[in-house]
Amino acid sequence: MLRYTLTRIGQAVLVLLVMTVLLFLLINLMPGDPVDNMLEGNPSLTAASAAQIRELYGAGVPLPVRYWNWITAAVQGDFGYSSIYFRPVAEVLGPALGQTLKLMVATLVLSVPLALLLGSLASLRPGGLMDNLISFFAFASISLPNFWLSLILIIVFAVQLGWLPASGTPLETNPPIWLEVRHLVLPVLVLTMFFVGPLVRYVRASMIETLSSDFVRTARSKGLSEPQIIIRHALRNALIPMVTVLALGFGGLFSGSLVVETIFGVLGMGKMIFDAIRYVDFNLALIGLLLATLVTLISNLLADLAYAWLDPRISLK
Amino acid sequence: MAALLDVQDLNLRFPIGGGLFRKPLTLHALTDVSFTVEEGETLAIVGESGSGKTTLGYAISGLLTPSSGHIRFGEALSGAVEDRPVQLVFQDPFSALDPRMMVGDIVAEPLRLAGVPNKERQERAETVLGQVGLNAESAQRYPHEFSGGQRQRIAIARALIADPKLIVADEPLSALDVSIQSQVLNLLNKIKRERSISYLFISHDLGVVHHLADRVIVLYLGRIMEIASREHLFATPSHPYTQALMRSVPRIGRGRRQPGQSLKGEIPTPLAPPPGCVFHTRCPKAQDVCREAVPVLEPAPGRPGQMSACHFKD
């Protein structure tokens, strides 16, 4: 198990390295030149200082050398300066990462148990009333656009009822925890609604299949009650295929909550990466995208470990 | 008479598992298997799961490449291009037929691959469907419209259409109901009489083998334990494994069984076959020599046609 984990971490580092090369190449293929952007924004720059800036940014240096310079600095923790925030990339990305992780963890903590509960309930009597209601909810969750749901929730809970703030981040510099939670409620609700629908569908399908399997019949023939059969026998087996779905969803959530972040004014990873690419902020975009890769790699590794923990037939040797 | 099929020292090993930093294990599917099949002969391969009998069928049909050894077809088989020498009939008549193809097309497929024109293909498909006891209209229908026994007839028709000299049939009866089994068994017999075809008949069912086979190979853990004519094998089994197999088969009319006669233990994994005689872990006759030396396949005492690989053969 330990050996397997170490091998997998080694592989992840390898993938990450390859990704640095690919991303570096891709970003350099992007149209637009950061120095041009800077010059446009600041006409008072002289030609001499423009040349100096160009040199600083490595113009005229061949791509492989630039890559080498960048990667050697990056592994030492120097990610360079962000050209749109005029601050070190690490300082910019740190809080954004924090915001995104808060949103993601809260969304997961809410949606996984909810999906297990709703999916299992729906699977008990496929085609029954409960199943139809839950399926309706799941389809609504899948098909309601994020921005629309966000706006509706803001109108209802922030504007009309005034119960919750409309923004995702408190204005205070050092807000107390309860205030932060209050601000997170609406964006987390929207993200949960977005995340839970497909999960419910998967749990339901997986549970229906598991409940019709031979070993569930065996469990019935032993005289176990339905709750015992579902909790002790069916659920764990049904969970196994869910792990992949969760891991994939997690990666998507990391950089894919752009709309929600924008509407609720949360400066998270989705918005950060989007802005960085839009305004040709090389350094920020590179590290942001690499972080997204890293999260996907980590969630896949966790998924594999979870597989081995859930399913004794898989041995991670 | 020249042999139709000559198999010499056939070995088949598969690497299993392994990875970037690990050596794969070796699965010994078949070890030093040699035999011949004569024209018009039915040779049965008998064995339990893990004996390698299906692997052997695949190797002879060309679906698997041997690790070493030879599979040679006699001169009778070097005919026209469309005459594939070997055709296969599988165990499961439900998954062996493409559900989206019409039966006529399924049956005629070997001809299509050989480039036979469409019209001739259809005619020959209808003829061969008739020979397996299905009417000509069947050609226009889909596999799901047929019962298990009828589907196995379709699979047999597909095997027959290219006029092969040898049919490898892998447990063709075991998915069928008892009353349907005998119908298909009679069909196989009829084909054999009419076409002087050879069968390599893979089965675990000794009753069926006794009925159909001319000669029998008993396979255990990828090795031939015994090879003999049907009469000899069933009347005077030489190898202790063959004897145990015969005792294990339930028979009607014996009344309730007397416990304690069954073979102990189970077939070991082909990933780590026992040293010496592969059967020694379960053999009632096993001695020290059996744990060390691999017994040679040689004639049983006084029966030159009956070969048995046992240090203490009868």
């Binding site: 031979d214 005289g223 002790r232 | 089994q181 294990s248």
Partner: protein, 340 residues
């Protein structure tokens, strides 16, 4: 011997047991009918008004081909029929009619009074639960044992079905056991609470012949030790003949013949039973054509006798009225117009 009015087997046997003074049997199935909401191309009734009984410690073999209703009959004894099934008639077990049981009473019947062993040992156990825990679960459920005591009892049970190194095997997961060992573990699980009836549905069909022989030995041994009654279902006449005292042959949802093993093979009366025996390859001369029962299984049932469209003896009368199961010799029952 002729019986004027066709009586149900239960009535006949009632008369028998009264005459011989025998106690009531452990299981008595009376006019059991199992039907499903009609679907296209499928008969609604999978089992039609069958009656039979199993005495304490008796082994009954049930033989038939696919669609004969043998599996549905077994599931009915365990209350494991699909929810859509409509059950008619009575299943008297140990003085109670099982068809009248509440869901709760069914649960205490299953695993304690009656237990079941299934065909596929590969899929019948929970793949993510240790073998010992799966056996212990029955004991925790019915005997009120603690998990710990249940587990140590499970080890003893694994030893009693001759599984080598039972302590280690109890810790194993099902995939670490061979097919034969899994079936032994299933038998250990089924017998954990010493049920009065063991229902075994094709328990050796998925196994190799040498392992099948071992499992049959084991079932005989345990039956003699504990006096468990067995309903043993199989498509294989020979397998059933080695374990059963009596055999019931089913065809298309009906019992066609019901007799002791000796009587059935010495004197098979129903054309279907005769056909089944004659089609066995070991019955024919090697190389000769075997006897075949014409036609196929399934499809629409003919009017009258359900076997009439495949029967060599059938005449117009057979196609009109369904024959009742009657006793034509002592304890030998057959449902055929052509048998006197």
């Amino acid at each position: 011997m002729m019986i004027a009015a066709p009586a149900s087997v239960a009535e006949i046997q009632d008369a028998h047991s009264q005459a011989s003074g025998a106690a009531t049997p452990l299981l008595r199935v009376q006019d059991l009918t199992i039907a499903f909401p009609a679907a296209v191309g499928r008969e609604a009734e999978v089992v039609s008004s069958i009656s039979y009984e199993i005495g304490a410690g008796e082994a009954l073999g049930v033989v038939g081909e696919s669609g004969c209703g043998k599996t549905m009959t077994s599931l009915a004894l365990m209350g494991l029929l699909p929810p859509a099934a409509q059950v008619d008639g009575a299943i008297w077990f140990d003085g109670r009619d099982l068809t009248k049981l509440s869901a709760r009473a069914w649960r205490s019947h299953r695993g304690r009074d009656a237990a079941m062993v299934f065909q596929e040992p590969m899929t019948a156990m929970n793949p993510v639960m240790r073998v010992g825990d799966q056996i212990a679960e029955v004991l925790v459920r019915h005997e009120g044992m603690s998990k710990r005591d249940g587990f140590s009892r499970a080890v003893q049970l694994l030893a009693s079905v001759h599984i080598p190194s039972p302590e280690r095997r109890a810790q194993d997961y099902p995939h670490q056991l061979s097919g034969g060992m899994r079936q032994r573990a299933m038998i250990a699980m089924a017998l954990a609470c010493r049920p009065k009836l063991l229902v075994a549905d094709e328990p050796t069909t998925a196994l190799d012949v040498t392992v099948q022989a071992q499992i049959l030995d084991l079932m005989l041994e345990l039956q003699e030790q504990h006096g468990t009654a067995i309903q043993f279902i199989s498509h294989n006449l020979a397998v059933v003949s080695e374990i059963a005292h009596r055999i019931m042959v089913m065809y298309s949802g009906r019992i066609v013949e019901y007799a002791s093993v000796g009587d059935l093979f010495a004197n098979p009366l129903h054309p279907y039973t005769q056909g089944l025996i004659k089609t066995l390859p070991e019955m024919g001369q090697p190389g000769s054509d075997l006897y075949t029962i014409p036609g196929t299984i399934g499809g629409k049932r003919p009017p009258g006798c359900r076997f009439s469209n495949r029967c060599p003896l059938a005449d117009a009368g057979c196609r009109q009225a369904e024959p009742a199961l009657r006793e034509v010799a002592p304890r030998h029952y057959v449902a055929c117009h052509k048998v006197n």
